[in-house]
Assembly symmetry: D2
Homo-oligomer: 338 residues x 4
C-alpha cells in the first residue's frame, strides 16, 4: 500500500522532491527562531516579487490556522463573516472560526461553491442594529471547495461590492495555485489587483510538507497579526523550514507546474470517467477535483481498492482529487476499476 497513489485528496500526496531538497539545504548551523532568520527574509522578498507588490506575510502551520488568524485580524467578535455553505471555514474546521473569532458565520447556499454580490447583498439588512452581528468580512475560496474557479471579473465584482458596503474580502487560497494555473494568470491578478484584502496562501495541497502563509495587502491589517498568530499557537520556532519550502515553491514557478499537472490529470480523469455509463459529473471540472454520482453499490468495493470520499451520501455523489504526483497510469488503473 505504501507506494500506491489514490484519488482521495491532494493532501494525501507526499512532498515534492525539490521541496525535500530545500528542507535539507537549510539544515545547517543555527538560525534565529520565530522568523528572524535570513531564509525567512529571502522568502519574504520572493513573495513580494511573485505578487508584484509590497505586502505583509506571516507563516502559519495550516489552512485552518491561516483562515482563523486572518479572520481574527479582520473581524471583532460582534461582526459576521459571510461565506458559502460549502466553504471550508464553515464545514471543515470543526467550528474553529466561531471559537477563535467569536463571530457568527453567515453561510449562503450556492449551486457551485461560489458567492456572488447578489448573495452577499442578502446579508446586509441589519447594519448598525445592535441586536445583530454586523457583516464585516466576505470570505471566498479560490479555487472553490466544489472545484470551480472565480474569473477575474467575478472576483472584482465581489470585492467592489464588498468595499462599497464597508466589508473586507478574505480569500481562502488553499488551492489558489490550481486556480491561477487554470486561469493562466499570476497571483497578483486574482488577489490585490481585484481588491482582495487578505489571503490564506496554501501550499500543502500542492507539494509542500507543512506551513501556509497569511498575506495582507493592506499594511494596517498586519499590525496585530504577530500577536494573534502567537496567541493562536501558529508561530513556528524553526521558521526556516517553512520559509525554505515557499522559497523553492516560487523557483521556476514550481507551484504552477505542480498545479497544471494536477489540473490536467483531473481533466483526463473527468473525460474518461464521464464516458462510463452510470457515472455522471455534477460540477464543472476546472481544477483538480472531479465530482460525480455513481451507483451506490459501486462505492464500497471501489473504496477498498482505491480510497476516496463520498461527498453526498443521499445523492451517491463522490469526489475524486488529483495531485501533483498523479500519473496517467493511475487514472487508467482507476478507470478500469470503475
Amino acid at each position: 500500500m505504501k507506494n500506491v497513489r489514490f484519488f482521495a485528496s491532494d493532501n494525501n500526496a507526499g512532498v515534492h522532491p525539490k521541496v525535500m531538497e530545500a528542507l535539507m539545504a537549510v539544515n545547517i548551523g543555527h538560525a534565529i527562531s520565530y522568523g528572524a532568520d535570513i531564509y525567512t527574509e529571502e522568502t519574504t522578498e520572493l513573495f513580494k516579487k511573485e505578487f508584484e507588490t509590497d505586502l505583509d506575510i506571516f507563516f502559519v502551520y495550516n489552512g485552518t490556522g491561516a483562515n482563523v488568524t486572518a479572520l481574527q485580524v479582520m473581524a471583532r467578535s460582534f461582526e459576521a463573516i459571510i461565506c458559502a455553505q460549502t466553504a471550508h471555514i464553515n464545514t471543515d474546521e470543526c467550528g474553529a472560526p466561531e471559537k477563535q473569532t467569536g463571530c457568527k458565520l453567515l453561510a449562503l447556499e450556492t449551486p457551485d461553491g461560489k458567492l456572488t454580490k447578489e448573495l452577499i447583498a442578502k446579508c446586509l439588512h441589519a447594519v448598525g442594529d445592535q441586536h445583530h452581528s454586523q457583516p464585516r468580512v466576505v470570505s471566498i475560496t479560490q479555487s472553490s471547495e466544489m472545484g470551480t474557479v472565480y474569473t477575474i471579473e467575478e472576483l472584482k465584482d465581489i470585492c467592489d461590492f464588498a468595499h462599497a458596503n464597508n466589508l473586507l474580502v478574505h480569500l481562502d487560497g488553499a488551492r489558489i495555485a490550481n486556480a491561477a494555473a487554470a486561469l493562466g494568470c499570476r497571483f497578483a491578478e486574482i488577489t490585490w489587483k481585484v481588491g482582495i484584502d487578505a489571503l490564506s496562501f496554501g501550499g500543502t495541497k500542492n507539494g509542500l510538507m507543512f506551513g501556509e502563509a497569511v498575506i495582507f495587502f493592506n499594511p494596517q491589517l498586519a499590525t496585530n497579526m504577530p500577536f494573534i498568530r502567537k496567541q493562536t499557537a501558529q508561530l513556528h520556532s524553526k521558521m526556516r523550514f517553512i520559509s525554505a519550502q515557499f522559497g523553492v515553491y516560487f523557483k521556476d514557478e514550481l507551484w504552477r507546474k505542480n498545479a497544471l499537472h494536477a489540473n490536467k490529470m483531473a481533466a483526463i480523469l473527468a473525460e474518461k470517467t464521464s464516458k462510463i455509463p452510470n457515472v455522471k459529473l455534477t460540477q464543472k471540472v476546472q481544477v483538480n477535483s472531479v465530482f460525480a454520482t455513481i451507483p451506490k453499490e459501486w462505492i464500497k468495493p471501489l473504496q477498498e481498492k482505491s480510497f476516496f470520499y463520498v461527498w453526498n451520501e443521499e445523492k451517491s455523489e463522490v469526489r475524486w482529487m488529483t495531485s501533483f504526483d498523479t500519473t496517467e497510469e493511475d487514472i487508467t488503473n482507476f478507470v478500469e476499476l470503475l
Copy 2:
C-alpha cells in the same frame, strides 16, 4: 553566518540528520491524511512501548498548541490553572492559554521555576464559591524554564497532593528529554508512574523539525481531544511527516543521546564560564541551560558576535542554551569571547 552555532536557544538548532532521513523515507506514494495512515499507527505503538503503558496520543504543531489543547481538555472556562510565574504558559505564549481556555492562570512566584505542594495549597481557599475561578489543573514544566529538574519524589508529591484536592496535573514537557536524560530515567518514571494526567511531549527543542504530542494517560481525557485539536487549528493533514520524526526519535533512544549531549555541553559551558571573573551562575545547571549574571556592558558586543537572550535586564542576567549539535569547540570559542 549560516554555518554558525550559538547559544540563544535550543530551537535555533536545525534538524538532526536522522530525522531528516526519516522524513525522506516516508515520502513515497499517498497516505491517508489527518493521522489515519500506517506511519502514525506505527509511531503510536512506539509511544506506548516507550512509555510502557497504554495511552492516547495526539500530534499537534508546537508546544503552545500542545499546552492549550491539553488544557482545554482538562479545564472549563470557569476553572483556574495553577502554574509558576516563570511557566511558558504564563509568560511566553502571548495569552494563548487564557484565550483558548477562557481560564484564569494562578501564577505563583518560585525561586527556581518549580512548584511545590505548599505553593499550590495557597490557591485552594475558595473552592466551591461561585465568585472565584475554581482551581482545576496544576501545570508544571519538566525540565523547568529555569533549567531545573523535578526529582521523581517531588513530582509524586505534587501529583498526590493535586489528586487529593481534585486537581489534574499537566506536564509541559517541551524539554522532558533533557530532564529524563539528567535523571537517568525513562519517561514512564516521571509521567504516569508519578501521577501525571496529561503531557505536552516536545521534540522540536531536541532535534525535530516540527510537531509535538499531547499524551493522555487517563483515557477519559482523550474523548474530546480530536475535536479540540481540530478547532484549535492543530491537526496536520500530512500527518506521516510528524509521525516519522517521532518514530526515529525513539529508535535507539535518539532522544536521550541528543539530550545527554546538550546537557553535557551545558555542564561544560557552566564549568568554564563560572571561572570567569564577573560571571556568576544564578541557577543550578541541571539540563541544557546556563543562567548567569554578567557585566551589563559585555552584553551588546557579545550578542553581536554570538547571539543570546537577556533574561532579566535589571539584574543583567542572561541565558545560554546548548543543543544536540553544540560542540566543545563552540564552547571554547564562546568562552574566549567572554
Copy 3:
C-alpha cells in the same frame, strides 16, 4: 407620549402593578446577596410546585443571558447548536451564543419558526468526524418568534428524536407563558414531561421588570451553572428583587392571566385587521403577535402615530405585538389609523 401604548413589542410595556407591589414588599432590612436569601428560597419552592417536579433554577438578567448560560452548560465549543433561522439566538443576540459558547449554530429554514425532527435529521451526517462541529443541542422557541406554538405532541416528537440521537433539548421560553395559555396547559406538560432538558424561562415580556430563570430538569446539568452564570456576568447581587417578581408571577397564576389577555388582544387585532383590504396575515395568530403584509406606503406614516417594527422589508411584512396591558380601545384606535 408617556401614557400611550403601542404594538411594537411586549417588552415596550411596563411592569404589572402586582409585580411592583411585590418589589416594594421585599424592600425591608438586609438580605444575603447573590441568592442565599429567604425570598429566593421561597420562590424556588414555588417553581417546583408550579412545575410539579424537582428542578434546579438559576436567576439571570435577561433572555440572552438565560440562553447563553444554558447553552454553555449544554455544549462544548466544538459542538453545534441546531435551531431555526428565525430563532432569537440566531438572529437577535448579536452573536452572543457564538461568542459565549464558541459553538457553531446550525440554523435551519422553516416556514413558521418551528423545527421538526425531519429538519433536525439533516444536521446529523458528520457525527464523530473531527472535522465537523458535533451536533449536541436542539434549541427551540415556545411560542416561536413567528408567533406559532408547538403542540405537546410536536414537542415530544422533537425531544424523543433528539435524545435518540444523543442531543439535548433547550427551550427558549421567553414567551412560554403565552404558549401555555394558548394550549391551556401547565408548564410541566410542555417542558420536562415531553423531555425538555433545559429551559430559559422568561417573564419580562409578560409583566416583569427584569430577570429571567434558567431551569434544568436534569440535575447533572446544574453542576457547573453557578460558575458559568457568574462568569457570564449574570449573577445579580440583590437577588430578592428578582425572586420577588417570580414569586408574585406564580400567585393565582398571574402569568396565565397576563398571557391570556395578550393572546386575546392579538386575536382581536388579527380579526379586525384581516378585514382591512390590503392587509394580509402571513402567520397563524396563536399567541400575542400578528404578522401581516401591508402596503409599503402605509408603514412610515403609521409608525409615526403608533410605533411598530417592519419584519421583512422586501415583503413589506410588519409585526404587531400585544401585551398584558393592551386594551380593546388601543386596538380600535389602531385599526382606525389603518
Copy 4:
C-alpha cells in the same frame, strides 16, 4: 430576620425609598425598549451635567457586566490588563474578564489595594514582543476593595504614566460614590479630569436595585460598545427602569447623601470597635468598610447573630461594611455583641 440589618455587604441592603418611587413613576404606558426611550434620554443628560462634560454612557446589568464590557472595548485578546491582586476583576468575577476579553490579567500585590506607577512599570518590559501579552489597560478601583481611596493626585499620576506608556485607564467605580463623598469632590474631578478613559459607574451598592453604567470619556471608545454590550447579554429591554434609578440618584445628590451616611457609619463602627480589646483594624477606614482582625473563636457565634464575611481566614481578618441604611443603633447593637 427579615427586618434586620447587618454588616456583611453594602449589597445586602435594599433599595432607597426614593429609587423605588422613581421606578413607580416611570411605570406608565409603553416605552421603546433597549434604551431608545425618553427616560434614558433624560438620564443621559443628567450624567453629562453631573460629570460636567460630554460622554458616552451605556447601561448594563451589574458591576461585572460593566467591567467586562468596558474591558472588551479597551483591549484585544492578545493584550494584558494590569490590576491589583485584590481587584474585583481579578478575584471576584469567576474569571469573567479572561473569558470575555481573552486577555491576561497582570495582577500586582499591593499593601492597600491601590496601584502606583512604580508597580505598573514592572509590567512594561516586553512591549512589542510577540511572545508576550501586550500591556494595554490599567484597571484601578475607587474606592478600592480594601476600603482605601486614591487621592486626586494619585489618580493623575497613574493616568499620566499610563498614557505616556500607551495604556488606557479603566476605573472600577462600584463604590465611586463613597470615594467622591470621602474626598468631598465631584465625579469629574476623579475621572476624566485626571485622565480616566472609561468608568464602570456603580449604584447598586449605594441604594439602587439593579443596573450599572459604563461611561467613556473618549468618544472613540464608544463605537463598538452597543454591539459588545448586546453580545455580552448586558442590554436590558425595559431600559427605563434602569434610567429612572440613575435619574433620581443624581437628584439633590442622593448618591452623596447615601455615601456620606455609609462612610460616617463606618467611621463610627471603626472608632467603637477599635477600642475593644483583641479587635485590631488592618486598613485605614476611608469609606464604608472596616477590616479588622478578631479572635478566631469569636467569628462563628458572631456571624450567627449578625452575618459578615471572613476576609482572610489565616489572619482571622474580617470585613464589616456599612450601607446607606445602617443606623447608629445597628452599630451599638453590633458592638455590644462583640
